[in-house]
């Protein structure tokens, strides 16, 4: 009895405290890795800093890094809501259910979940069309591989990752029919030692292009040591590894979105949205293509970036069959967002099964 009373009075005190500071908007961020990972979380934190830059004293931001996906995330998000956050960005796929659960308990707090698909009255989702960048990478990879073997370090078997593999494969295969993908699932977003081991295993088995869907720069370092292997920056430019092995990159630019959503909370115009932007709005940027890439390949890649940006080309344009040989997209047909969002199959030609 006493304990619940204590809790109740603490809650009241907390409520008063947050009411007193109501003129500043508090924005919280939950990160899956450390802000210094040089990749995914680093770019989200750049978005957070942009929010601070844009609003100055009117906003207060805080973050918690290295939050595991799963049950503990719910605790971290709850804690952030109790701290009086008005808007909370949960920046990894695995926070989807925890975010929805916490959002139910805090109807006045707005939540934004990255890369998920479950929304609620106070939960929006946002993601970027990374697969557009993967198409460009696939093209360069297919053109540049000499061993016809492309290594792919995959994290978790979720639609976002599978989409990336398919997109890269389709575009590599289009320019190099002999290309083969070796895929390793490492079941982590961030573990430099494991990512390095995976990169080495791929390189030892003949891959001279390594694509990664994990957050650290360790595979870049492994490729650099091997010498004749090219890579692409993931989530962040990773420009310090250019011009070789890193020949280009996908950069996630969250800043404009974060600023806009914070503004919406301030203005009271926030509503649930499902944002999925790509190269067109600049949420996905293609990092500079280095001179290691031959000029003609670079020109083709840039033309593809332009076409993806102005909408004249879709990264999933038929004819494309599924892995089992059944037809998916007819000639000229493009994939709809619903199928892409829930993608759980490989396209024809990729060897191996998706773990489930």
């Amino acid at each position: 009895m006493k304990f619940t009373k204590l809790l109740a009075s603490a809650a009241v005190a907390l409520g008063l405290a947050s009411a007193a500071a109501a003129d500043t908007t508090k924005v919280g961020f939950i990160y899956v890795g450390p802000v210094g990972d040089g990749g995914w979380t680093y770019e989200h934190d750049q978005g957070r800093l942009a929010v601070e830059e844009a609003f100055g004293d009117k906003v207060e931001t805080f973050y918690q890094e290295n939050v595991p996906e799963g049950a503990d995330a719910e605790r971290a998000i709850t804690q952030m809501a109790l701290q009086g956050a008005d808007l909370i960005f949960t920046t990894s796929f695995g926070y989807m259910d925890p975010t929805i659960n916490v959002a139910k308990k805090f109807p006045n707090v707005k939540f934004e979940h990255a890369t998920g698909y479950k929304t609620a009255d106070n939960v929006s989702v946002y993601s970027a069309r990374f697969y557009e960048g993967r198409a460009v990478q696939g093209h360069i990879a297919g053109k540049m591989t000499k061993t016809n073997t492309v290594g792919y370090i995959a994290s978790f078997p979720i639609p976002e990752v599978i989409r990336g593999i398919n997109s890269a494969y389709i575009h590599a295969k289009r320019v190099n029919p002999d290309v083969e993908f070796k895929i390793i699932w490492v079941y982590t977003w961030f573990d430099p030692a494991k990512e390095a081991d995976a990169a080495k295993a791929l390189i030892e088995q003949g891959a001279d292009v390594v694509l990664q869907h994990t957050d650290s720069t360790a595979p870049q370092a492994a490729a650099q040591e091997a010498g004749n292997v090219i890579t692409f920056g993931q989530a962040s430019d990773m420009g310090e590894y250019g011009p070789m092995p890193r020949v280009s990159s996908i950069i996630d630019n969250w800043a404009p979105y974060y600023v806009a959503r914070t503004q919406a909370v301030m203005d009271g115009t926030w509503s649930t949205v499902n944002t999925w932007d790509g190269i067109d709005t600049g949420m996905v940027e293609i990092g500079e293509i280095s001179d290691v890439v031959p000029a003609d390949v670079k020109a083709e890649a840039l033309a593809m970036v332009k076409a993806l940006g102005d909408g004249s080309y879709h990264a999933f344009t038929g004819p494309i069959n599924k892995q089992d040989g059944s037809a998916w997209l007819a000639e000229g047909e493009t994939a709809d967002d619903g199928t892409l969002a829930g993608m759980s199959f490989y396209v024809e030609g990729i060897v191996g099964d998706i773990p489930n």
Partner: protein
């Protein structure tokens, strides 16, 4: 499925690299626990060693200075633990956990200016003639010096604990600190030295990750290896050679499962991913059927007045 894509020589060579950080940290912790101290701060000492080694290597350009700095860094952090548990008589489990949290935070702070820098590389111990031998060359004769140091340390720890007077005193302190005290040994001093040795080894293991295995600095890059080292010491029943076996088994299956995946073998990935843990535990549990138990005073505080 194409198993011919996996080269056994390269596989064994890279499993030795993957196992070394784990081995170094676990050997250090084994000596600490043999002295009757349970230090759960291995992860924290490793990551501090990783950044100390990395920073000094970048600043001085010498990987050997870096390795030295990593050992000093790990040992310094462990003295904090030694002070808390040996003089302030704080709870060892809580102090060790605090040490890990502190180490992770401290390393992130120290490493802020070192993100994205490539360190000067550690020269390999290439032996002309031997290193070029087919198969055995890459396995035995083309590694960095630290890898050999890990094996040497294992042998040294084994010999020291088994055959020397120092080892006997250390074990006496770990088995029954009151008796050791009554015999006139400085329980606290022995334990502090053991803790610092453990810290230096953990720091070395961390530096191995940041200087050789990855090599770069990223926050939180040890990613739980310190915890695995702790578990390994227990499953190896506090025996150095079993620690070596366990570390190579764990590192080996980890590397092997990545290679099997890349070769497209038709085992579900989930089983492959859990196999290093399962097989290592299974093998070590079977080995430890001879009931060699933990040091009797493990985790207990000592004060001369009791």
């Amino acid at each position: 499925m194409d198993l011919s894509a996996i080269s056994p020589a390269l596989l064994i060579a890279s499993l030795m690299v993957a196992a070394t950080p784990l081995l170094l940290a676990a050997i250090g912790e084994l000596v600490v626990e043999k002295a009757g101290v349970l230090n759960l701060g291995v992860e924290g000492m490793m990551i501090v060693g990783a950044i100390c080694g990395f920073a000094v290597t970048v600043e001085t350009g010498s990987p050997f200075m870096g390795v030295l700095a990593a050992m000093v860094g790990g040992a310094l952090l462990s003295t904090l633990f030694a002070f808390l548990t040996q003089f302030a008589l704080a709870n060892q489990v809580a102090s060790g956990l605090a040490l890990t949290l502190f180490g992770l935070g401290l390393s992130a702070l120290m490493g802020q200016n070192y993100i994205g820098i490539k360190p000067p590389s550690m020269p390999r111990l290439d032996i002309p003639g031997l290193s070029d031998m087919p198969f055995f060359g890459p396995i035995f004769f083309a590694h960095d010096p630290l890898l050999y140091l890990g094996i040497l340390l294992t042998a040294a720890a084994w010999a020291l604990l088994k055959y020397t007077r120092v080892g006997l005193i250390l074990r006496a302190v770990g088995e029954n600190h009151d008796a050791a005290h009554a015999l006139g040994y400085h329980v606290i001093r022995v334990r502090i030295l053991a803790i610092m040795f453990g810290g230096a080894c953990a720091g070395l293991g961390g530096a191995y990750i940041s200087l050789i295995r990855v090599p770069q600095w990223t926050e939180g890059m040890t990613a739980g290896i310190g915890w695995i080292a702790l578990a390994l010491v227990v499953f190896a029943s506090w025996k150095p050679w079993r620690v070596l076996l366990g570390a190579y088994l764990f590192g080996g299956i980890n590397v092997l499962q990545l290679n099997l995946q890349a070769a497209g073998i038709a085992i579900p990935v989930e089983y492959l991913a859990m196999s290093p843990y399962l097989i290592t535990i299974l093998v070590l549990v079977i080995l430890s059927a001879d009931k060699s138990g933990a040091p009797a005073s493990l985790g207990r505080s000592f004060h001369a007045s009791n």
